[in-house]
């Protein structure tokens, strides 16, 4: 909401600098987003206090040498008035009228040397005013347009203000800074400060925060027209949706332009001036927060002649009939949702209550008599309706956040009186006020102890009461509590906690001390699962992998790329009804698919990709309300092992055993005994796929991706370049990570090292051979390390040689060759017996 500081000053004294006003409001929850300065320091164009002043127009005469120029005699407080040559079209009507000083016409007058914007150039170009002759008459001053002062882009005529009882008593010569200079605050109206969606609302907060009195608008209305009684009847069948409806009738309004001060304020507040009747309606809404609406009274009367020739106009609010339509004043046709509350007469609907007027019943240029509506509406219902119809009017903005019914009568009176004074209207005697169930003002009990405990402030009951009274609560102070009656402009106070917020706000959040929690520390349990996940990340980072965090929303089509030959997996998805895009429409089933999506992206730029992610996957569960969320670990490797430097990069490409080495390192660090077994999986290349077994349970799959999968992933890689991947179920793994384990003592005695090459049939797996060696080697065999694998003619077809480096060591003595030879013979004998192996010498 745009709030001109000058408008606030109608209701509260503001003598602090603008920055201080900003700070006070912002800290109290009325966040000032931006400040626009007009004419005063802070603005791009500052109006010089001596050179740009208020001028009183005394006389306007035709320029003797030019049809399109006039000579205006302007008093600006100096000894003699100044004659100004101007082409302002809005002065022409005064030519030849002689002395017009009694008409109170004022305009900004710029004196020679003043800096202004050039009215004849596009945009805002500054210029300095210089005296020069215009068609033979020397001119050194200028009456100004809004454009020249930087108020708007308006340059059709000059600013022409008529002095009336509403304008402060400015004198000719008053610096324009004091007349039209302003700062406009853009305030963010968050839901709980709906009461501040008006100048009065903001002023009320400022008054409370600075402990100053608030000056209310004048709600008195002179009603001297014909009585309204018997002419208008108002009813509703939904008082819970329309708790109050105030109607007033104003006769003989003139739809002229509103006075300059009103137009100026509306513009600063972001409203376009239309004519005085519409402007007053908007002005009252902005001023005190009550939206209101004007109907064409004669139009309603003509309709009444059809349904009640001798009876009153009957305004009735109700819900729509099935299929009912309404055309709003912006000429849009709406199909009404069943909860939309309508203002109607017995013939048909007239307007959309609280949101927007109807096209037929609104005032027209020739309208002279108006029915003014100021009503109260249920805010949730207005919100639902406005959202359903997509109408975001200023009225809907306010009503959908809550306007107290008490405001309706005040708003109607204020608008009627303005129409009387500014539009020349006559206000009918009497007010039709349909208000079946005025609510009781709520009284909230606040225990001091609670307030102190919640706020951390050690305030007396009287001090708390004083802070609340500044916000217009009626407070009585008791021994251990106070009773606060909520003022009738507020709908947001429900319980004692709300009062504590008000106390803290007015006291100032910045004045509350900062303390350290002194409450007992809860039992410290940590988060073991998270801690293990973070440990796994650390191991993988040490192994040279980069962690990712990817989108958890994906599409079934993308994930199906990992499963060639099928439409996707068999599990149901968590699917969105309102996805942002088709690519992000379901919660993922595969973390690996997310990781590979990133691999594909990076493959355009990177020679080496080594990445992983730990994160959830989501399987819809038809039995339960929420899906199953499983934590997975996915890894992907492809490309160069090393990073190219100036000494060359000969490390080669990642292959199956790089990935396996990383996984072995990980499980080694975690001390979980994972076994690998040849396996089949549609995502992976047959013969290069292993499943990971932990205590006989499968916890994941690893391998080289199936060439059909890599082809479908749009990876920018070399032909036949392997892409290695693993997908591991951390929910299955983490519970098996031991909290502690035994260390292996370091022997002080020297080891004996030997090599052993074993020739076996090709079908026999390495893990089988190694296991037999370890078992047969007994406790003296400390380490078995495979260092060579060979297949070839030397050892015969269908045979494979596995060469191991064996380390024998005792913890209590120095081993001799005899003891080692004995173990070696046992190993050889067992391998021969179990695997029909022979030793290659």
């Amino acid at each position: 909401m745009q709030v001109p500081l000058s408008w606030l000053k109608d209701f509260v004294t503001i003598d602090r600098p603008v920055a201080e006003v900003d700070r006070i409001l912002t800290n109290a929850g009325l966040e000032v987003k931006t400040i626009e300065y007009i004419g005063i320091p802070g603005a791009d164009l500052v109006w010089d206090r001596d050179l740009i002043v208020l001028g009183h127009i005394l006389q306007v005469e035709q320029h003797p040498n030019a049809d399109k120029l006039v000579l205006a005699t302007v008093d600006y407080g100096a000894d003699a008035p100044e004659v100004v040559v101007t082409g302002a079209p809005n002065l022409f009507e005064f030519v030849g009228q002689g002395d017009i000083s009694s008409r109170g016409l004022y305009s900004p007058l710029a004196l020679e040397g003043a800096e202004l914007y050039d009215g004849h150039k596009d945009g805002r170009v500054k210029m300095k005013l210089k005296g020069r002759p215009l068609r033979g008459i020397h001119n050194r001053c200028m009456v100004c347009s809004e454009k020249e002062l930087g108020i708007s882009d308006e340059h059709e005529g000059i600013i022409l203000m008529v002095k009336d009882q509403w304008l402060p008593d400015y004198q000719a010569g008053t610096p324009m800074q004091d007349v039209l200079g302003d700062a406009v605050l853009e305030i963010d109206i968050i839901p709980n400060i709906a009461r501040c969606a008006s100048m009065l609302g903001v002023a009320r907060e400022y008054a409370a925060l600075t402990n100053q009195p608030l000056r209310l608008p004048d709600y008195h209305v002179v009603m001297d027209g014909p009585p309204v009684e018997g002419k208008v009847v108002i009813t509703t069948d939904k008082p819970e949706l329309n708790p109050r409806f105030v109607g007033m009738v104003i006769h003989n309004v003139r739809q002229i332009d509103s006075p300059y001060w009103m137009q100026y304020r509306l513009r600063l507040a972001g409203q376009r001036p239309i004519n005085v009747v519409v402007d007053i309606s908007n002005y009252v809404m902005l001023e005190m927060g009550q939206p209101n609406h004007t109907f064409d009274y004669d139009f309603l009367r003509q309709r009444a002649d059809q349904y009640a020739p001798d009876g009153p106009i009957h305004i009735h609010t109700r819900l729509p009939q099935p299929g009912e339509m309404l055309t709003t004043l912006d000429e849009k046709v709406h199909k009404l949702p069943p909860h939309a509350i309508l203002v109607t007469d017995p013939l048909s609907n007239l307007s959309l209550g609280g949101i927007m007027g109807g096209l037929d019943s609104e005032i027209k240029p020739e309208t002279q008599n108006v029915l003014l509506e100021a009503a109260a509406w249920n805010f949730i219902n207005i919100r639902r309706t406005a959202n359903a119809l997509g109408i975001h009017s200023d009225a809907a903005f306010r009503f959908s956040r809550g306007v107290h019914p008490s405001q309706a009568l005040l708003g109607a009176k204020r608008a009627a009186e303005l129409m009387r004074r500014l539009a020349g209207g006559t206000v009918a005697q009497g007010i039709v006020d349909y208000y079946p169930n005025p609510p009781q003002a709520a009284t909230v009990k606040l225990a001091y102890d609670y307030a102190r405990r919640l706020s951390g402030l050690d305030l007396s009951g009287e001090a708390m009461a004083d802070l609340l009274r500044r916000l217009e609560f009626a407070v009585t102070v008791h021994e251990d509590h106070l009773l606060a009656t909520v003022p009738d402009h507020r709908l947001d106070i429900e319980g004692p906690h709300d009062l504590v917020e008000e106390i803290c706000r007015v006291y100032g959040y910045d004045n509350i001390p900062n303390t350290i929690l002194s409450d007992p520390l809860p039992p410290q349990r940590g988060n073991p699962k998270l801690e293990q996940e973070e440990r796994i990340k650390d191991v993988l980072v040490q192994a040279g992998l980069q962690e990712l965090i990817t989108f958890r929303l994906t599409s079934p089509m993308y994930e199906a790329k990992l499963l060639p030959g099928s439409e996707g997996d068999a599990w149901p998805y968590v699917a969105l009804t309102n996805p942002n895009s088709a690519e992000r429409a379901v919660m993922r089933h595969s973390l690996l698919a997310s990781v590979l999506e990133i691999a594909a992206h990076n493959s355009r730029y990177q020679e080496r990709i080594a990445i992983f992610e730990i994160g959830p996957i989501f399987i819809e569960d038809e039995e339960e309300i929420l899906p199953t969320e499983q934590t997975r670990l996915s890894l992907a490797l492809t490309g160069q092992r090393g990073v190219p430097g100036w000494q060359g990069n000969n490390a080669g490409q990642y292959d199956f055993f790089d990935l396996k080495g990383i996984l072995e390192t990980l499980f080694g660090e975690l001390h979980v005994p994972v076994n690998y077994e040849a396996a089949q999986h549609p995502s992976y290349r047959p013969g290069r796929t292993a499943r990971l077994l932990l205590n006989g349970q499968q916890i994941g799959v690893m391998g080289e991706l199936h060439p059909l999968v890599t082809e479908r992933l749009d990876l920018h890689i070399e032909r036949d370049q392997p892409v290695l991947a693993a997908d591991i179920d951390l929910d299955a793994l983490i519970p098996h990570i031991p909290p502690y384990y035994q260390y292996a003592p370091i022997s002080p005695y020297p080891p004996i090292e030997e090599d052993l090459a074993v020739v076996v049939d090709v079908g026999i797996t390495a893990v089988t051979v190694e296991e037999i060696i370890r078992r047969a080697g007994g406790p003296l065999l400390k380490d078995v390390r495979l260092f060579d694998v060979y297949e070839g003619e030397q050892i015969g077809k269908g045979k494979r040689s596995l060469a191991y480096h064996l380390t024998f060591q005792a913890t209590d003595k120095t081993l001799n060759d005899k003891a080692v030879a004995k173990q070696r013979q046992r190993i050889i004998a067992t391998l021969a017996q179990r695997l029909n192996a022979r030793i290659r010498e």
């Binding site: 109290a28 959040y509 910045d510 001390p513 007992p520 940590g526 992998l545 980069q546 965090i549 992206h601």
Partner: protein
């Protein structure tokens, strides 16, 4: 004989002067002081000498021997030094050539930021509690005091799933009630990190997915002053000891009173810059005292218990700290981005 000795002495010293490398020096040593060298040969003749001059000759012979040894030692040291210097001089590298690059890994910047947050709040007794990404409307809204059609719901555009009343959580506040239910009747001091989702336009400033860290403390005597103190401590450890905080009144349906916390801009030291929009302040988190309805929904009697809650965005913190201007980088996972952190 003595003459012969003096000649030997003078000549040996003169030769030594000529020696230019350690190899020649070794030859000199072999010829002069070695086992079959000139000095040794003279020594062997001492026995056949006239006993009258023998002591004087013997004395002089020892002197010559010691002098030559000392001269040799000095020459050897000098030559070694010279040779080392020459070797060093000839093996100089262009130290500005780049090093051998290592294939390194790294943690995602959001993980790094989250760990900072875990560590700081961990020191204050806050433990990590996690709750699901896919949530019920009840936990995400209703139990947090957002009634249906409440204006506050419009501040967060939800993703709805095909199951009625099941949505993607719009904030980690959704875990507040779950944490309270899990901990009741113990006091609660938790942080709740997690991924959140909102149906927003994807721009440089907003994403359909983002992480959040919620914090929650519930106990018998927890006040707004504790909230301010705890979060100010956090700000100083996260952003530097010199940071000042400012608390502004705000609105969240699940807290009352509510506050936004700003910190003094660490980029310009509050002199005013583009990032702080020339205000000197950076908005860091939302917070407030847990609403009595929320406490009650979590099982805690608001007449007995009070608490505070807060929520912050790790991406925003990282964006401020490292000048990242596009939130889409976080989930784009371009390695050229990730490996900068």
């Amino acid at each position: 004989m003595l003459e012969e000795l003096e000649t030997l002495y003078t000549e040996a010293l003169a030769k030594l002067e000529q020696v230019e490398n350690t190899a020649v020096l070794e030859t000199w040593y072999h010829d002069t002081l070695g086992r079959k060298g000139a000095v040794y040969l003279l020594t062997r003749q001492v026995g056949q000498m006239d006993p009258a001059i023998r002591p004087a000759f013997g004395k002089r012979l020892n002197e010559v021997k010691n002098d030559l040894q000392a001269a040799y030692d000095g020459r050897l040291a000098a030559l070694k030094t010279a040779e080392l210097e020459a070797a060093i001089a000839s093996s100089a590298l262009d130290v500005t050539l780049p090093g051998r690059p290592l294939p390194t890994g790294g943690l995602h910047i959001v993980t790094q930021t989250l760990r900072d947050i875990y560590r700081i709040f961990g020191d204050m007794g806050f433990q990590v509690y996690r709750s699901p990404d896919v949530e019920t409307d009840a936990y995400n809204f209703e139990l947090l005091n957002f009634p249906p059609h409440h204006p506050a719901r419009e501040m967060q555009d939800s993703f709805y799933t095909t199951k009625p009343d099941v949505i993607l959580r719009t904030h980690t506040s959704a875990g507040q009630i779950r944490a309270m239910q899990a901990y009741y009747p113990e006091p609660v001091r938790v942080i709740l990190p997690g991924m959140c989702y909102r149906n927003e336009q994807i721009t440089t400033r907003s994403s359909i997915q983002f992480t959040q860290v919620e914090g929650l403390a519930v106990g018998h005597n927890i006040s707004m002053a504790d909230l301010k103190g705890t979060l100010t401590e956090f700000a100083r450890r996260m952003f530097g000891a010199g940071r000042q905080t400012r608390f502004r009144a705000s609105y969240f349906p699940f807290t009352e009173p509510s506050a936004e916390m700003d910190i003094t801009c660490f980029l310009c030291e509050s002199k005013g810059c583009q990032v702080c929009k020339y205000t000197g302040w950076l908005e860091i988190l939302g917070s407030g005292m847990v609403h009595p309805t929320v406490l009650r929904n979590g099982g805690y009697d608001p007449g007995v218990y009070t608490g505070f809650a807060f929520g912050m965005g790790p991406e925003r913190i990282a964006m401020l700290k490292y000048g990242i201007d596009d939130i889409r980088q976080f989930w784009g996972n371009d390695l050229r981005f990730l490996q900068q952190f």
